[in-house]
């Protein structure tokens, strides 16, 4: 039987980057995304260490991260898109030699699009298209039914369409 601690640390190895990436596509700041990722794992550990069982640790991690992001956004003012994208070197892809130029541009476009959406839309789209989770898993994370999630995804896509096709 494996110790909770080992299972948890394995979950860190497996999911830290994905959680970080998710946070990044919500806040667009490297240090903040790192902090949120760390806090996600620490809160999750506290939960486990207090004796609670977690069936699906990946979903749990996303759930915690989502809530932390919500808490954080309440504390922050919106910064202008321009300032973020131009001034933040963290938005430069880390391994540029792995990306062709068009990917860089595509990334910037994605970020620009995401930035203007509301939080819930952003969250759903990130979970679906960046974290690559299916509606059932997303439902677990957000406390919704899979159907509900599909409806929201469609709405989110319409929302995006509105923004890119004025």
């Amino acid at each position: 039987m494996r110790l909770p601690k080992d299972v948890f640390l394995e979950a860190y190895e497996m999911h830290a980057e994905a959680i970080y990436r998710h946070c990044f596509f919500r806040v667009f700041r490297k240090e903040l995304a790192e902090e949120l990722m760390q806090e996600t794992f620490m809160k999750t550990w506290n939960y486990i260490a207090s004796g609670e069982k977690i069936d699906n640790i990946r979903a749990f991690l996303y759930k915690v991260a989502t809530n932390l992001i919500i808490d954080d956004s309440r504390k922050r003012k919106e910064e202008s898109l321009e300032k973020l994208v131009e001034a933040n070197p963290a938005l430069e892809p880390v391994s540029t030699d792995h990306l062709k130029t068009e990917h860089d541009l595509a990334l910037k476009e994605v970020i620009a699009t995401f930035k203007v959406l509301d939080a819930e839309t952003q969250s759903i789209l990130t979970l679906r298209y960046i974290d690559d989770l299916d509606p059932k898993e997303i439902g677990e994370i957000l406390g919704l039914t899979a159907n509900n999630v599909s409806v929201k995804i469609n709405r989110a896509l319409s929302e995006v369409k509105k923004h890119i096709q004025p």
Binding site: Y12, Q38, H103, I130, L157
Partner: protein
């Protein structure tokens, strides 16, 4: 752009978590886990602590970290951070002059004191390993570690002898046996890190070899006395208890091996399992001795089994820590290292297997670079350690360590 680009997921992968930072956060996370565990223990202790039971609690050998947590509580941030310090770091003096001294104050009986000195000696070797891994085990560091190690190892022996003269010969045998196993395992680790071949490292290497010889001698002498000693019911109980402990320790080592299997090469795993099988047999032999009424011998066999299991555990643990580091370094080095067999005769080696190259095992990253790096350590038949390393962004490396006792 189309509403959602088809390859958005791949585009998004450009946002990576740098592996150094991932590792760093991983370490912080572990520290956080330990600290919060300590706080929880402390809260639990508070409930039972107003009585003598606290004294009893501190009589068992405890991890230094736990002692600190209990003593310092929430305000101990610097002390906790210092636990990771290495010679050269600012916090190293906190670690050795404060933390370790605090731990000493809170070791209340002779056995706990002896265990603590052994642990401190072991910590110096762990520090040497970490420095060696970073190529920072220079003459200064090595000299300091050597001096401290020797002091602790001699203190350990002296405390073991005190234990014996105070009448607790089995306690003395236990401590010396565990210390011996730990020293041998660390010697293998340091050799694998090529930490013991340069001129700089000779002092530490010699001191370690000396410590192994004298501890082994001490252990053997104690066991001889136990073997010819009385076969009273008390000894029987002690033997059965120690055999029980051996079973648990072997199971725990096996469990640990199981968990870490994916990070080890097949031959490394096979080796470790072999050691544990030998340990199992020693336990069986010990149980036979109990049946035959030779309780002293049974007790000694239990310790032999524990030494095996302990050796496996220390090696895997080191590999776990080192592997973490190796993995995140990536495979950019081609190193061939010759070890001139500075290990003592206590480590036997079986036949050398051929090097196994491990491929990067991560499956989802297209952009991982697969470069192989090989580090070969060849010895004079004394301690042979093979290391294979697959480099790349998401690769995992492996260390094969051959160790026979």
């Amino acid at each position: 752009m189309t509403i959602i680009p088809e390859n958005l997921k791949d585009i998004a992968k450009a946002i990576k978590l740098d592996s150094e930072r991932k590792k760093k956060f991983g370490l912080s996370l572990r520290r956080f886990m330990e600290a919060s565990e300590a706080v929880r223990v402390r809260q639990g202790i508070r409930q039972i602590s107003q009585s003598n039971s606290l004294l009893t609690f501190f009589s068992y050998p405890m991890s230094i970290f736990l002692i600190l947590a209990l003593v310092l509580g929430a305000g101990g941030g610097t002390s906790f951070a210092a636990e990771q310090a290495l010679p050269g770091d600012l916090l190293y003096t906190v670690k050795v002059d404060i933390n370790e001294k605090v731990a000493a104050v809170f070791s209340f009986n002779a056995e706990a004191k002896a265990q603590l000195e052994a642990r401190l000696a072991e910590r110096r070797l762990e520090e040497a390993s970490k420095l060696a891994l970073e190529n920072k085990l220079d003459a200064n560091a090595q000299s300091e570690l050597s001096a401290r190690f020797t002091a602790h190892s001699q203190a350990t022996k002296s405390k073991i002898k005190n234990l014996e003269s105070s009448g607790d010969i089995r306690g003395a045998a236990n401590v010396s046996s565990e210390f011996e196993a730990s020293l041998r395992a660390h010697q293998a680790i340091l050799a694998r890190l090529n930490a013991t071949t340069s001129d700089d490292a000779r002092e530490l290497s010699d001191d370690l070899s000396d410590a192994i010889s004298s501890t082994t001698q001490l252990r053997v002498d104690l066991e001889d006395k136990i073997s010819v000693g009385e076969n009273s019911p008390e000894v029987k109980t002690a033997a059965e208890g120690r055999l029980g402990a051996a079973v648990n320790i072997i199971a725990s080592a096996r469990n640990y091996l199981q968990n870490k299997k994916s990070q080890l090469s097949a031959s490394s795993t096979a080796q470790a399992e072999g050691e544990l099988t030998v340990a199992d047999q020693l336990v069986v032999d010990g149980q036979a001795k109990v049946q035959a009424g030779a309780y002293g011998d049974a007790f000694n066999l239990a310790n032999a089994a524990i030494r095996k299991a302990q050796g496996v555990r220390v090696i895997i643990q080191a590999q776990d820590n080192l592997n973490l580091e190796i993995r995140f370094r990536g495979g950019d080095n081609q190193n061939e290292v010759r070890n001139n067999g500075s290990a003592s005769s206590s480590i036997d080696v079986g036949n050398r297997g051929e090097n196994e190259k491990r491929n990067a095992t991560s499956s989802n990253s297209d952009d991982s670079k697969k470069s192989g790096a090989e580090i070969k350590v060849e010895g004079g038949g004394k301690s042979d350690l093979d290391v294979d390393e697959g480099g790349g962004v998401n690769a995992s490396g492996s260390i094969k360590i051959k160790l026979g006792l």
